[in-house]
Symmetry: C2
Subunit: 460 residues, 2 copies
């Protein structure tokens, strides 16, 4: 595949420093957070949109696959070169080009780290809400390609709500612009929203116009514990009935709490018998959030909360969030392999989802700590196994099939945040009909007639 003519053509355009063929690079750029990689044939690091377009034309002429790559933090193998070819890393295109306070927008290159953008806009009193757990590593381009979510999505929506316009390179080499700086635009088809979440299979995003909002002046955090998942979901319903729209509504189950307690080496993080914990944050102006926090507390107590704590200051707030922040690392301590699934159901059906997970736990003898964004019905189901236990891994894969089928039966979706990549591609027909998949493939072909852009993703 690495015909000299390809590498020569790439080097002639980008320079030796930006075309990598050494084994380390090929392996490093061939994997992501899924940890099921395949070495790239060549890695290129274009520095401009025009260079991206040149790389695409060089590959298109030769019908060589191109796999766009941001920070490589995806959980479904979206940036893995499963069909070989060129990995196109956007790491050199990492600048914030503009923060426009008057028009509440930012213009960025794709590889700006999400957390860095948040810091930059917050300095001028603005706010970029999407907050995937990876926000200190993942980049805006990847967030857009996958439509990243996070705890704040219940109130603020996911990445898609903030993407106003894109510059992108088509797999046929043309540079296009979609949307723009205007917050409303109904001229032609909404290609912006079509590209958001398309997992790098339709075009390579080279510039992003993002909508910002005013930064909420203050937050208050509340922690409530419950004897069962059902009562925590009742609390969520009560909160909504009380007309409060929290900025976060995070749920952690008993298994998750236990993992964090063990990792922090404390006996317990919650009252005995806690099967579910809610972390609720309200934000806004001071006058409003005190009133809203009181309503949240009432809603939790009415649902049977065993303990309700409200942070009185920033230190206490950080302390309440600590259990959630330590969670990811704590799970890693339980077992060496984590199958992390981001299923989503209508939030009223969360208790049924947890009942399903209990059944899966028992049937397949697996540890499955769960946590997630209760307001969105978006639950991270973590199947924990030892990487050397082939039998457990086999059971985990069976469990996945049962989980996905069950979620679809609950009117949910097999992915709310991570996308399909190649890891979930075999499960696509559980959720989409033959006609729907055929239509999506025709859309793919409208963008990529030769099928060279990120092949093997989304569709099996």
């Amino acid at each position: 595949m690495t015909a000299p003519t390809l590498v020569d053509a790439l080097v002639a355009r980008l320079g030796t420093a930006h075309v990598k063929t050494d084994e380390d690079s090929r392996i490093d750029y061939g994997t992501d957070a899924l940890k099921r990689g395949r070495p790239a044939d060549v890695v290129v690091l274009p520095g401009t949109t025009e260079e991206v377009a040149e790389v695409v034309r060089i590959c298109a002429e030769r019908r060589i696959p191109i796999v766009p790559r941001g920070a490589g933090t995806g959980y479904t193998g979206g940036s893995v070169p499963t069909h070989g070819g060129v990995v196109l890393s956007l790491e050199r295109m990492n600048r914030i080009l503009e923060i426009d306070e008057a028009n509440l927008l930012a213009i960025v290159q794709p590889n700006v780290v999400t957390g860095d953008l948040q810091d930059a806009v917050e300095k001028v009193g603005l706010f970029y809400p999407p907050d995937p757990a990876s926000l200190r590593q993942s980049v805006i381009g990847g967030n857009v390609a996958e439509c990243a979510g996070g705890p704040r999505a219940f109130k603020y929506g996911t990445t898609k709500r903030y993407v106003l316009g894109l510059e992108a390179v088509l797999p046929t080499g043309e540079i296009i612009h979609t949307g723009g700086k205007a917050v409303k635009n109904v001229v032609g088809y909404d290609l912006t929203q079509l590209l958001v979440g398309s997992e790098g299979t339709l075009a390579i995003i080279t510039r992003i116009i993002l909508r910002l909002v005013p930064k909420p002046p203050q937050q208050t955090t509340i922690r409530a514990t419950f004897p069962d998942v059902e009562s925590s979901v009742t609390a969520v319903t009560n909160i909504i009935r009380a007309r409060v729209v929290p900025a976060a509504l995070e749920l952690m189950d008993g298994d998750s709490l236990e993992a964090v307690a063990r990792n922090l080496n404390v006996r317990s993080l919650a009252p005995e018998g806690t099967a579910a914990l809610l972390l609720i944050e309200v934000d806004g102006i001071v006058e409003a959030i005190q009133e809203e926090a009181a309503r949240v507390e009432d809603a939790c107590r009415a649902a049977g909360a065993t303990e309700v704590l409200r942070a009185r200051n920033e230190t206490e707030r950080q302390e309440l969030w600590r259990v959630r922040r330590e969670l990811s690392l704590s799970l890693k301590m339980i077992a060496s392999l984590k199958f992390n699934h981001d299923v989503v159901v209508p939030k009223g059906r969360i208790p049924e989802l947890f009942a399903l997970i209990r059944e899966i736990r028992e049937r397949f003898r697996l540890r499955i700590p769960c946590f997630g964004h209760a307001g969105d019905g978006n639950i991270h189901v973590n199947i924990m196994v030892d990487k050397d236990d082939a039998d457990a891994i086999a059971r985990a894969h069976e469990a996945e099939g049962m989980l996905f089928a069950g979620v679809v039966a609950l009117e949910g979706s097999i992915s709310g945040e991570h996308g399909i990549g190649f890891a979930k591609a075999p499960f696509l027909p559980l959720e989409l009909s033959v006609d729907e998949i055929a239509l999506m493939k025709r859309v793919k072909k409208a963008f990529d007639p030769e099928g060279i852009l990120n092949p093997g993703k989304i569709f099996d």
Copy 2:
């Protein structure tokens, strides 16, 4: 075109009562709010999704154009059968199927009147924010097809933010489902958002799953008058800087105010020398909105407002809104023809837009009252002419060309709410490149290989 075989096939499937070929029906269903119609060849009124699919198959076999139609309130001729064929009215599919309080969603058929849905969900404490001016006539299906906006879009977003899932019939006859009841879904391409705003050219929408939000408990309205448009825009910027996100931020210019004053037969509605009026509404819990209203007042005064009024009760609130509500009717009194354009610019550039409109007014000797959604930079530019004045009409068309070119130069868009239809199709190349239009046409072809669904719309 009305070959007996077509009508016979349609009657055999739908029954005589639901296939209309009389001249009155053909004319009535051949026009919309643009008032530039063409009679339909046949009008059909299917009552179910399966019947819609049958009609499509009957037409597809014969390659006969199909034009889907909601309430016919569009301003760009989107539901006009410019290429003849069958007008498929969805008027019989007008039921609210479900309001799901626990999951904050509603499931509706396409021809539910938007205002009726709002009333129904508000009865149970929920809220469907999109509020196009036509909300008492227009229907959800049309709102989705055009991505309708309205005053509340600044805070709440346009229709697209509320569409979670769709059932639709493809021009090839298949019934598809996109999205679903889950508020997050990143499985495959976002066909839901692609269909929103596609003006009935990609598929016929037969069922809609809408996201709802808790109803804000209270509103407060403020009216501020300004000696020029610039200072009103400064007020908008100040309001945003004060971290208030109003539910409405409506701007009316001096010409618009004069039209309303004349229609209401009062000498003046605002202090002498008023060139711009802002209507600002904040909503939320009582504690918050009093504080926010105070900030809004300060922001307006700091920008040089000549008068700032705050409604102290619901009667006063209705009184403040009256000037805005009477506007549409008042404009009709000025002249018999209104070319109503919904241009949009980044909001900081509204003063430049108004400078452009002043230039257009003078150059083409036209009356052009303007009003709109200042928070979104979305301004309705109404070119008023007498329908018998051919010279004025010709000047109006020249003015349109200058307006659209100027808006694109201001980094704006030629349509923020009404869409392209056939009326604005000639102007599409002002905003989109040849490559972008070619790509959109390939997307169209992916859905509609024979080009039978609403031909002649969007693309010239």
